[in-house]
Amino acid sequence: MDYILILIAAVFVNNIVLSQFLGICPFLGVSNKVSTSIGMSGAVLFVMTIATMATYLLYQYILVPMGLDYLRTITFILVIAALVQMVEIILKRVSPPLYQALGVFLPLITTNCAVLGVAILALGLENGSLLKSVFFAVANSIGFALALIVFASIREQLELANIPEKMKGVPINLLVAGLLSLAFLGFTGLV
């Protein structure tokens, strides 16, 4: 039951990009085409899930027992950076076509606030467990994918629209993102 709530909350009510403001850089930077958005979302799903799993275990079984929870930030980001490198190497060897599709986005994910953000947020889950944290990560990457892909489809249409000179580029993208965020605000109170 909890899990359904987590899913709905992560994807709609507390959407990672549109209401928690995590992952904005790729959101604005990679979303000009739907195809790249799908690629980026796939890469994020991969890394976010594995990273959350690793950081959760690290936190619960090493940092906390040793009273080192103030090292959370630094160890988490190092784990994420190392993971991204490993994933790149493994992917290249195990599945070249998948590497072709996702490879370009992987280095960008290290500095994706969404990954580190979700890893930290997962620590605050009610009655947390490894399974819950991993599910939380998957749910959030679905939310990320949803926001990214919807935004990209709008942007593709925007190319054909008549936009005032001063608004072209960043301003109009932000405005569209704002309207999208407004739409998602309607989900508040769902859970």
């Binding site: 090292l71 605050g124 889950l125 009610e126 508040t188 109170g189």
Partner: protein, 198 residues
């Protein structure tokens, strides 16, 4: 600009040195700040107690009772207050994870009849400017001097008597729930609290 060559040894050594230095520096700052952090937390608690309880002359922090509850992850903290050996009131910390951003912890001061004296928000991570308004006097006013035995703590949307904050229904709802948790603990433990005179 002469950079060190990227030999394996060089790479390992330089990373090791950096990690070591940063580890020592962080350990140092941690030791420096652990006192002030604990002190700040304690001060916040004492200030909160002073705000929610009537005049007392015992030391509620030292007479803290911890009770287990199915509703809360940690034990519930109960701070009894006595004045001139008479039971003056009790502050109970209720919490819920159902806030917009998770944990909301409130300290509720009850008088000997179960009426709410005051509420102080101890912990919350709600949306700044919106959910954080649950800390405002304007919102807490709804609860003051009400006795949960006759006052429905829920928000009006759920059939209760509290007007939720505009744009922060979830935060308001969670706040009410936390207060309810505190009151439930009050009802459950009030007899043993009144008896524990020091």
């Amino acid at each position: 600009m002469r950079k060190k060559k990227s030999t394996f040894i060089n790479m390992m050594v330089s990373l090791l040195v950096i990690t070591l230095i940063s580890g020592i520096a962080l350990g140092f700052v941690h030791d420096l700040t652990i006192g002030p952090i604990a002190k700040a937390k304690l001060e916040r608690k004492i200030n909160a107690l002073k705000l929610v309880l009537p005049k007392f002359d015992n030391n509620p922090v030292e007479e803290l009772k911890l009770v287990r509850s199915e509703q809360a992850k940690d034990s519930i903290e109960i701070y009894p207050a006595f004045f001139k050996s008479e039971f003056a009131g009790v502050a109970i910390v209720g919490s819920t994870e159902k806030g917009f951003s998770g944990l909301i912890k409130v300290m509720v001061g009850f008088d000997p009849n179960g009426k709410i004296i005051n509420i102080v928000v101890l912990d919350q991570k709600e949306t700044p400017g919106l959910g954080t308004k649950i800390k405002d006097v304007k919102f807490i006013q709804h609860y003051i001097n009400k006795n949960p035995s006759s006052f429905n703590l829920k928000v009006t949307k759920d059939g209760g008597e509290v007007d939720a904050l505009t744009g922060a229904t979830i935060s308001s709802r969670a706040f009410s729930e936390a207060v309810q948790v505190a009151y439930d603990a009050y009802i459950k433990n009030i007899d043993s609290i009144k008896k524990s005179e020091n």
